[in-house]
């Protein structure tokens, strides 16, 4: 049902396709701890769990995607539950003219698909009439729309023909039976891939939503490195879609974009293998990977980035003192768990008790996995109650988890960091490494501050 179904693990199927190809000046040069990049550490067998999952569905990514593309509207075709999920995840972000909404299916729509299609057209018409500034309309499928087999691709086609270019309508599924939390962005971006113009031009394409400020910073640095042109998917304006083709080098800003990457590769692009730009080390390697692909002299890379690395590490030092030796348990949620675990263990000295991930895409995680300390216990999927038993037994110093679990664990005396903040905060890049570490140090610091006697 849809191409982005919660994918079963493809055990190292693609490992050979993505050899660890970090440039020679990558991490080893002035990295915090020089490691041989190409050797995969021995990790214990993956713990695969299937049971109750406590993870949002892909609809959640609308919350950051609509802010990234202010000229787009995200229309969920679903139930009152879907509407309630998105507004609960968005929290206090309440807009006079919101750029997301839900076409809530009623009993009549369930009775006959013909009516449902007509109804959808009517709702979209009303919406577009009221909001002429909308340039791209994302029709977002949900569990109910998938189960009743409402064909949103056909609906998009129909509306596109009718609108004749005034608005572009695309569709993807954010349903909870097929996607988790951040995978919704993967769906949205892969829906855009067929619309990208073709170009053979050599260019760097940053894939995945970055905070605007963080992105600007990267653009500045790429310019200093002489890497360019640099484009982004998603773009800041939904109509300013980047081109793609054989000259396109993909640099992934986010680790949850499996389908998008594969779709872009089918358009001729090649993915630059690299860890993700979290932490000093990951961010440096990430930019260096792009520099190497663009034939930049490693000396220039060192000249531009190493002062930042120095400064970034200085900023990290006091936070490292707070985090060092602290035991960390990451529950599966945002799909950022593995890169975070890598950053928090290698640069902040934390000990990893368990690193959960909703699903493991080994090719996209290869460079990250290679950097994890020996013996790191990875788990994929979830059986919530059993995982909580492991948390209680291990008594970690900090648990990274979803909003539903945080306060209950705190009440049991276990410090937590909510993972949803990580997808809303500017955490990428060398300059943000200390901020990122601070997000994890704060709950621990807070516990030290509070005194009740």
């Amino acid at each position: 049902m849809g191409s982005s179904a919660l994918r079963p693990v493809k055990e190292s199927v693609d490992a050979a396709r993505f050899p660890h190809s970090l440039p020679p000046d990558g991490l080893t040069r002035k990295g915090p701890t020089p490691v041989p990049m190409a050797s995969t550490p021995t990790l214990p067998p993956l713990l695969r769990e299937s049971g109750q999952r406590e993870v949002f569905c892909g609809l959640t990514s609308i919350v950051w995607l609509h802010r990234r593309m202010p000229d787009a509207f995200f229309l969920v075709v679903g139930s009152r539950t879907c509407a309630h999920l998105v507004q609960s995840a968005a929290g206090v972000m309440i807009f006079a003219e919101p750029r997301f909404g839900t076409a809530i299916l009623g009993e009549r729509d369930l009775a006959g698909l013909a009516d449902a299609n007509e109804e959808l057209d009517r709702v979209v018409n009303d919406l577009l009439e009221r909001r002429p500034e909308i340039r791209t309309l994302f029709l977002v499928g949900s569990c109910p729309s998938e189960v009743i087999k409402l064909d949103l691709a056909k609906a998009a086609e129909r509306i596109n023909t009718r609108m004749r270019g005034r608005v572009r309508v695309v569709n993807y599924s954010g349903s909870g039976i097929e996607t988790t939390f951040t995978q919704g962005e993967d769906g949205a971006l892969s829906a855009l891939v067929p619309l990208l113009p073709s170009s053979d031009e050599k260019q760097l394409l940053l894939v995945g939503t970055l905070a605007d400020g963080v992105e600007d910073r990267f653009l500045t640095l790429f310019e200093r490195l002489g890497v360019g042109p640099v484009r982004s998917l998603p773009p800041r304006q939904s109509t300013a879609l980047p081109a793609v083709g054989p000259g396109t080098k993909l640099l992934l800003a986010q680790p949850f974009l499996s389908d998008t990457v594969r779709a872009l590769e089918r358009r001729g692009a090649t993915r630059l293998a690299s860890p993700y730009p979290l932490g000093v080390e990951g961010s440096r390697a990430w930019m260096a990977a792009a520099a190497a692909a663009f034939g930049v002299d490693p000396n220039l890379v060192a000249e531009v980035l190493d002062p930042l690395v120095e400064r970034g590490r200085r900023a990290l030092a006091p936070l490292r003192r707070q985090l060092e030796g602290k035991r960390l348990f990451l529950m599966p949620d945002s799909q950022l768990e593995i890169p975070l675990a890598r950053f928090l263990s290698r640069e902040c000295g934390m000990e990893l008790v368990e690193v959960g991930t909703p699903y493991l895409d080994r090719p996209l995680m290869a460079e990250e996995l290679a950097l994890l300390p020996q013996g790191t216990q990875l788990s994929e999927g979830q059986d919530l109650e059993r995982q909580l038993e492991r948390v209680r037994a291990a008594r970690p110093d900090l648990v990274v988890c979803g909003l539903g679990i945080a306060n209950p664990l705190e009440a049991e005396g276990i410090a937590t960091k909510w993972s949803i903040e990580l997808v809303f905060s500017p955490i990428h890049g060398i300059d943000q490494a200390a901020d990122l570490a601070e997000l994890f140090a704060r709950p621990l610091h807070r516990r030290q501050l509070l005194k009740w006697n």
Binding site: R67, L120, G213
Partner: protein
């Protein structure tokens, strides 16, 4: 199909969760996909609950659909019963599971679980959260009381049987639940009020009750329907089946609390309460009569809430504070009739809608000076620059205060006086600040503590995310240093101009100086003489 940008109520299974999470010893198995687990955060974040709601989700996936989802349901039910050992089990489905028709309730019924099982059928495509809560509470009690149902024709118990039995009268408090507005504190207030009148509380439900407590519901001499949205159907059923009389006045406000006590006394055959009880027990009547409150007279107030709180607020506003109600509405369609009736008494037409933009539009047109609403009206009022107090669910975490802040009873009336009048005073201060807008003390940023009444600066309020952006403390900031402000063509003060300026009292001198300089700049004056200063004064006093 209906376009919804924001919804006051969640789906009906969230109402069922409110019942399950409010009680002890009850568990809810919900056939639902993983995304539906978001609902846990409503309890753990908004209500700051220290434990997860007692809900097991099957979290079926697309790949399960081809196989045997019924097996998954049964496994989840068995595991939940084994792990949590509930005294009673709710079994139901969310919107998606309703479509695949596994009928989890029927499956559970065939499993020999050894606990009472309630098969919840909550139509997700036509009903909403409050309906779901009411239906769940009703179905749960019906299941648990099945064996106690009196035979048809059994005479109704006499409301003063307590006398014959030589005990104090006792009542049930029905309806308080998590995510309801101030229920926690209302229970305490009403318990105290009843105690003062020699009435015991038999059972409070659902909040804090166990299934075993629900079995004792018929032992009460009367049921108090504190929150009709949640307890209405149950109270009616208990009245029909067990003959238990229902007290339906909701004691929010001084007058309503008095009417509540009067109704209760009549039902239980007690002596009527003293006429001056309200004055003795609540400060609200005197605060409202005191001269300081004169300025409240005729304040235009717009009310939109659940039916219970909207009706109560309208009465308090009109009768106890001397406001003019300029708009009244609710999203509770089940109780629309009652709200319409109250609106009519006030010469208004009730607004019955769940479209917050329609509410905002009506609010704007009514031009109120105070808005009483839900957290959504707080946002709308903020956009329109109107002071607002929250009086009803749906809640934001800030609407669940740490302090004791009931809405019901005598103390509730005090709390209401404070929390409605406070934003009005803030609004007044804001107005004064507007008058002195040009004073240097009142530059932007000094006003942030008045955010409640401040005029909108931008349409959106993406607080947490933006706060995070603003909080990027380290090196990134160094890349973008703003250039120093360049003041073009700053005028020079002449000697006589400066002399005149010195004669102006120091506490307004700064303002006059700035205003005069602005005036000079706007009018292309290069040298500020005494005359220019007076020109500026005349200009600004217009």
């Amino acid at each position: 199909m209906e376009l919804t940008l924001w919804t006051y109520e969640g789906p009906p299974h969230v109402g069922a969760m409110r019942i399950a999470a409010s009680m002890e010893g009850l568990h809810y198995v919900l056939h639902a996909p993983q995304g539906d687990t978001y609902a846990d955060l409503l309890f753990t974040m908004i209500e700051r609950r220290d434990r997860r709601p007692p809900v097991t989700y099957t979290t079926f996936q697309a790949r399960d659909l081809g196989g045997d989802t019924a097996e998954l349901v049964k496994r989840s039910i068995q595991q939940a019963v084994d792990r949590f050992k509930p005294e009673a089990l709710l079994v139901g489905e969310s919107c998606t599971a309703e479509l695949i028709q596994d009928q989890p309730g029927a499956l559970a019924g065939g499993m020999n679980l050894g606990v009472p099982v309630v098969n919840l059928e909550l139509p997700a495509y036509s009903k909403k959260e409050n309906w779901g809560a009411a239906e769940t509470l009703y179905q749960l009690c019906r299941t648990l009381l099945r064996e106690q149902l009196p035979a048809p024709g059994t005479p109704r118990p006499s409301p003063d049987r307590w006398r014959a039995e030589g005990r104090r009268p006792r009542v049930n408090l029905l309806g308080p639940s998590l995510l309801g507005f101030r229920c926690r504190d209302d229970i305490k207030e009403i318990r105290g009020l009843l105690g003062e009148h020699g009435i015991d509380v038999n059972v409070v439900a659902p909040m804090g009750a166990r299934p075993a407590d629900l079995v004792r519901l018929p032992e009460a001499d009367a049921n108090i329907c504190l929150y009709p949205e949640v307890a209405g159907p149950l109270c009616s059923w208990l009245e029909r089946q067990f003959g238990t009389p229902v007290v339906r006045t909701v004691p929010i406000g001084v007058g309503a609390t008095r009417r509540f006590l009067a109704e209760l006394s009549a039902v239980l055959d007690l002596e009527a309460p003293e006429a001056n009880e309200a004055d003795l027990r609540s400060r609200m009547p005197w605060y409202s009569r005191s001269v300081d409150s004169t300025y409240l007279t005729g304040k235009r107030v717009f009310i939109f809430a659940d039916a219970t709180h909207a009706i109560a607020a309208a009465r308090i506003a009109a009768d106890e504070l001397g406001f003019t109600v300029v708009g009244l509405g609710t999203y509770s369609r089940e109780l629309a009739r009652e709200v319409r009736a109250t609106a009519k008494e006030l010469g208004l037409e009730a607004l019955i809608t769940d479209d917050y933009l329609a509410v905002e539009k009506a609010m704007g047109e009514a031009a109120p000076e105070l808005v009483l609403g839900t957290q959504m009206e707080r946002h709308s009022a903020k956009r329109l620059g109107i002071p607002c107090a929250v009086i009803s669910a749906p809640l934001h975490v800030q609407d669940v205060p740490a302090r004791y802040a009931p809405q019901m009873g005598w103390e509730g009336a005090n709390v209401i006086f404070d929390s409605w009048v406070h934003p009005l005073m803030m609004g007044l201060e804001e107005h004064l600040i507007g008058m002195f807008r040009h004073d240097f003390e009142f530059v932007e940023g000094h006003r942030s503590h008045l955010a409640e009444g401040a005029p909108p600066r931008q349409a959106a309020a993406p607080e947490p995310a933006l706060a995070a952006v603003a909080g990027s403390a380290t090196a990134a900031a160094s890349a973008t240093l703003a250039p120093p402000t360049v003041t073009e063509g700053t005028a020079v003060w002449s000697a006589d101009g400066e002399a005149a300026l010195r004669k102006i009292p120091f506490f307004v001198r700064g303002k006059v100086k700035t205003n005069t300089e602005t005036f000079a700049r706007d009018h292309g004056v290069a040298s500020i003489t005494e005359e220019v200063l007076y020109d500026a004064k005349a200009h600004y006093s217009k």
